[in-house]
Symmetry: C2
Amino acid sequence: MPPRPAASARKQRSKPTERRAAQRWVWSFGDGRAEGDRNMADLLGGKGANLAEMSRMGLPVPPGFTLSTEVCRYYYEHGRNYPRGLTQQVDEALGAVERSLGKRFGADENPLLVSVRSGARVSMPGMMDTVLNLGLNDRTVEALARASGNARFAWDAYRRFVQMYADVVLGLKGGHAESSPFSAALDALKRERGVREDTALGADDLRELVRRFKAIVAERGLVFPDDPREQLWGAIGAVFGSWMNDRAVAYREMHSIPSSWGTAVSVCAMVYGNLGEDSGTGVAFTRDPASGEKRFYGEFLMNAQGEDVVAGLRTPLPIGELEGRDPRSWKELLRIQRLLEKHYRDMQDIEFTIERGRLFMLQCRSGKRTGLAAVRIAVEMARERLITRDEALLRVPAEALEHLLKPVFERRALDTARADGRLLTKGLNAGPGAASGRIVLRADDAEDWARRGEQVILVRLETSPEDIRGMRAAQGILTARGGMTSHAALVARQMGKVCVAGAGELEIDLRERCVHIGPTALREGDWLSVDGTSGEVFKGRIDTQPSEVMQALFEGDAKARRGELWRAFEELMRWADQTRVLGVRANADQADQCKVAIAFGAEGIGLCRTEHMFFDGDKIDCVREMIVAETREERERALAKLLPLQRSDFESIFEEMAPHPCTIRTLDPPLHEFLPHSETAIEALATKLRVSPEKLAHKVESLHELNPMLGHRGCRLGISYPEITAMQARALFEAACAVRRRRRKAVKPEIMIPLVATPKELELQARIVRETAEQVFREQGLRVPYLVGTMIELPRAALVADQIAASAEFFSFGTNDLTQTTFGISRDDGASFIPLYVCSEIFPADPFATLDTEGVGALMRIAVEKGRAARGELKLGICGEHGGDPRSIAFCHDLGLDYVSCSPHRLPIARLAAAQAALRAGGKRKTRRKAS
Amino acid sequence: MPPRPAASARKQRSKPTERRAAQRWVWSFGDGRAEGDRNMADLLGGKGANLAEMSRMGLPVPPGFTLSTEVCRYYYEHGRNYPRGLTQQVDEALGAVERSLGKRFGADENPLLVSVRSGARVSMPGMMDTVLNLGLNDRTVEALARASGNARFAWDAYRRFVQMYADVVLGLKGGHAESSPFSAALDALKRERGVREDTALGADDLRELVRRFKAIVAERGLVFPDDPREQLWGAIGAVFGSWMNDRAVAYREMHSIPSSWGTAVSVCAMVYGNLGEDSGTGVAFTRDPASGEKRFYGEFLMNAQGEDVVAGLRTPLPIGELEGRDPRSWKELLRIQRLLEKHYRDMQDIEFTIERGRLFMLQCRSGKRTGLAAVRIAVEMARERLITRDEALLRVPAEALEHLLKPVFERRALDTARADGRLLTKGLNAGPGAASGRIVLRADDAEDWARRGEQVILVRLETSPEDIRGMRAAQGILTARGGMTSHAALVARQMGKVCVAGAGELEIDLRERCVHIGPTALREGDWLSVDGTSGEVFKGRIDTQPSEVMQALFEGDAKARRGELWRAFEELMRWADQTRVLGVRANADQADQCKVAIAFGAEGIGLCRTEHMFFDGDKIDCVREMIVAETREERERALAKLLPLQRSDFESIFEEMAPHPCTIRTLDPPLHEFLPHSETAIEALATKLRVSPEKLAHKVESLHELNPMLGHRGCRLGISYPEITAMQARALFEAACAVRRRRRKAVKPEIMIPLVATPKELELQARIVRETAEQVFREQGLRVPYLVGTMIELPRAALVADQIAASAEFFSFGTNDLTQTTFGISRDDGASFIPLYVCSEIFPADPFATLDTEGVGALMRIAVEKGRAARGELKLGICGEHGGDPRSIAFCHDLGLDYVSCSPHRLPIARLAAAQAALRAGGKRKTRRKAS
């Protein structure tokens, strides 16, 4: 029974939609025409817009129509009533479909059957409901049997429809689960007939099944409508209703999709791929979504329905084999896929059905792809002039470049594993890279095993903050539950761990210490291999190897350098470098890291933490001697020993980096970190330093701090012990002079004072640096240009940046500490609640991974404005972890920083993200303010 | 030889001073006239301006003249040359003095002798140099002997002059120290003459001494000028030169005095109080500077010089006894002191000399006074209508009120101690209050001794960060070195410890474990009493008692309530309350603290920390049970036990405070703080809670944080465990309803959510509070008005205050944490460098004591502006320690906060400071925004 427009609606406040006389609520497509097009996804949903577009292109699309998202909005704004005129528009559209196909909806002869599907502006996979085969009843089923000449097919469609309708529209839940009454009825019938497979049931059996299914519905006091029109409105109402179901609401909250967007409903004539060996169905990609290779890629099944391809009950055939089965459809499909890619100017994911030799396109959309494929497709499409270089740059998610650097499974070993059927399941690709290890089920054990040298894969139902140390110890993480924003996924990405999350087939038996994946049982300690780039999980061990890009970059592997992926990567990076305005630097503390940084395109060092050098070999003893010193004289004696060691560290860094600038930070961490803490270690050190263990223990104790992050560290050390800063400056300038003389290349040290909160701190420390520089230059008879600047890593520094700029020639935003202090959250301790905060949407993202533009960003803006106002030529950079995060980089671009600095491995991401930021900011190719 | 104006000066760039023809560089006074007046301290220095003023008033001032600070500025701006015309102006002014006295400078008969003194705009005690008896040489000394009829006097003056001139002008250092060559020569002469006292040397001896002194000068290649004019210009140059000596520069840096102010030089005719028994000298105050009592107070010595009174070699007489010695001078002095107080409208500190029965006023200035005296003098002067009430309010340094609340020595015991000569020395009154204890010389020992129940006084040369725990353990602190901003002074004031700093006579012998003060030797363990309000140090034990104000307030002591001090205090507080715009509240966690708060004038509670209640009795067990809970159900069981206990806490607080508002903060500290940490304590708790010790130990371990200040605390706990917030809200609203019903007084709870960084956190917590409130009101059939708000204690909260104000009905600035995070300094750990930072002027003050207006204040301003823009009626307060600091209170007033909240004992300070802030802000008596 078609619903009537709500009487009350006429009196309601939001009249605008109503007043427009004869508003179009329903948009038809089919027969080479369509009322909508691809740009109307907001109104028609992604699916509806693409069906309309394909129809316009003259492609064979089963005719149909779309109820727009405005209907959905109206529906919810008017107490679940439909707008006036909707019924009539639906009737008209349905009539057009009937005319197009020469079929009639609900007719006893040649009946029209339709599918009813949801379709929002953006894809919300599995979140909403669909009804197929709609229009069947006891009469039309017979007509379908006659029309198809296949009674079994018709009754099979009917029993599926009854079950689906009961589930989706009537709310008879449990429709798909094993325990559902429908499954039980099916099983009972099979037992009665003495058969094992559904396919062994004949038309009469299925007719009996339909009877029993209807009885199940009736038993529950529900009514299965025989009238196809009533079925249609029931299904439409169910789809609109599904927009507000719990799953959909949760998904929207998770992805910040406003509920006001609403869903569209597409009603489409059914076509069948299971009408015999001249029918079939398939899914395909216009290019390989895994490698990006330009080849038509996909799979199909003859005499099958779409869900058969997906469900994996029958093994689909590679798409190329269609040529042998149905050469005409193959040729047509090839033509269409080329056309679609050209038309959409992107790799397309398509679904098709062949009904008795006639090809129908059921869906097309931009295809999901791996990071590798994204790079190769973008670059190759630009080479083909299908898209511009700028578009190519914008097409690759910057983060995806990480995939290109992560280890992969050895090709041959992987092939063997696949061939041996060792692929167990597929979950979400939550942390890229490939890893093998022994299964461990508890985080504590993971730590223990790792400590004794085992490679482990931590396998958990889901992870929680207590598992963090175990996660760190593991090679990879595999969870049964949770999505891309689950605790496991968030933490793994933060740690750079391989992670496959939400592998639903996984069952963990903690008592028996074993794991079941489908039919496979594995015991704790067994080898498992996980590919966090693809989400695949393999039984046994698969060796890994560096990625093609890594081989090309660092192993001078000639073969890798001929690889398409490497060439695409290199080209993309070149384009990015030509496009970006931001400079890119690396955070690197030692010469070997500098090498990596240069290979990844660093234009300098943005942060060299001098203290990391302090732990090396003999140095730690001198450092400890310095710390334990009671007088300035003693301290200076220890520093004198440290001087040549630091100098040679700096020399090796300048050697690698010249002529690029190097930002070197003076001593930052609390001294406590350098001292031993166990009793025996203290005694050993006491002997070495020839002091009493009691005295040393007392010193260690006295340096202990309750909140070392907020303690005696950073420039506070240099203020308390100016001789430390002086020694570091001397080592640095002596090294700079030595390398300048030896290499005749420019050496550009930039000395950075950490943890400055007040102008006076910087002034005092900068004076020491500058005085030392002058002294060294006099001694060496040589000058080296240098800058003195500071980290802006405390809120106060940002707030008085104008005053600080008086002594600072550059600012580098230390956004790790700035985030810690702005939020009052220690990065070390935040793990106990940050994941909860991200899941609860209290934080849009982990603020230590992605810059908090509202809070931390506001301080940065203040600092930039005040700093530049006080000193126009002030150089500005960022050296916190955020320097390698694309969203944060975009913010840095908008803020007008000169460069970002990140860990060497994130440099490609930073280069691409910087280019994208420049393009998105309007493409004005500003020239950079200076070589930075 | 009078210097010539620098030839080069004529050509120099800074001409303005020069171009003004006949600029006045020299300002005369004397004979009831003066060219300057009291308002010209900038030009004439404090001393010169007051001498001019007294002269204008017709008071007997020895005539003289002042070289202005402009001369000093000119001198330094022109390469230490004098301006043109200066010599002539000095000559003219000197001539006037000669004419006034009928004496001549350098004359063989009746010679004029002068003093040359420095005098800056503000007093810089002991920082600059002075020359007395100038004008003496081998001829004039004889004339002086004749004129005075006292050869010994003349030669004594001469030998002092030679020594002083050599020291100050010729730079023959060591003039005053024991080891100086002049002292050695004096001692040698005394040995030769077989005498012990200087006074036993006759005129001839002193003549011989002059000869030897001059020989000492000559031996060093220096020239003692015989020409009085040359002496005069030498002395003037030395005084100007002393403006740039190390002591003066250091003092100015310490007190932020610009060196551009310069010093004036006052040249004044010498008058002598040591010309016989009809001469004398004294210092006096127009009111008692210790008690504030209105009585002429001071002391004098007949036949003595000023320095004799100060040096303490002879015991001066109480000023009243002058009446018997010289009734005419007494009468005159009485008249003058009354006149001066009335004229200056403040208590005056005066110096006078009687030369042969003729009274001369040498100096007057506003007198320094104790906090007690400040209150009494201000209130009584207002009562006398000498000053207005507003002036009275501004006259009392708010901090001084602390003195009125601190314990004092028992009057009788103190009198006895004085009478017994147990007063050992006097240092700086660095931390008010009185304390007795045993002398301990090392901080570690102080801790040990205190642990076994001893009262100790920590006696140190100076203190350093390692001494902090010892300082905390001690009753009082006494140091030999360091000023009012030394480490000891800063830390003691921060801790509220009694402290006398910089007691220069103190000598510490760490090896012998004893202390020498003058002739007195004390051993470690001996009793010592220190008065940090007066700076006095006494031998032995003196019992303490509560101050008069405390007795009147809390002991209902009728006698105390009749005391003048109490009455003055009460009146001042009343005036302050009538004047201030800011509300004042107390930080109080328990009913007894609420009582104190009400007594001190609290208008509500600004911060009630619920967790402080958690440690009480049985509660801690329930709290621990809650923390250890593994599931929500277990946790709720523990919370259910806690609920009635919390409710009764809240009831007792509401009982005390009704009808005042009470801001109650939900749980704030990390849970770790509530758990035991030693192995045995963990085992005991495990038994109690019936869990395994391993499990409990694991829990304790898992809650450990590296930086607990930045960890899982504040609202983060309430977000993780909403049931805790719900329990607290329920306890609070049930208590509020109970008290409302029982007492029929308004109960005004204000629930405050701590450590909010994002609007969503507050929104989630506020929702729990409001839902719980509605539930309780329904159950109770009673509504209680309440507010929900948040602390602004993280930089991010300030930056997004507009968003936060959407759920907040009030903000309370938690400036302790806000300072910690803005500076990135932990209050607990900062002690290791904050004193250094204050001494080095990196911080103008300890930012945890006085609000950092530039950084933290900037964030507060942002929060106030954004918060009020988003919600006009937003109530604003402060509850950090700064709420009791006068300078910070002034800032809060300017910021337009509604109230400040501080610890109960600082309420009087806050009330006065708030009144002063209102007066200083222009006296517009804004009405308060609302009862706060």
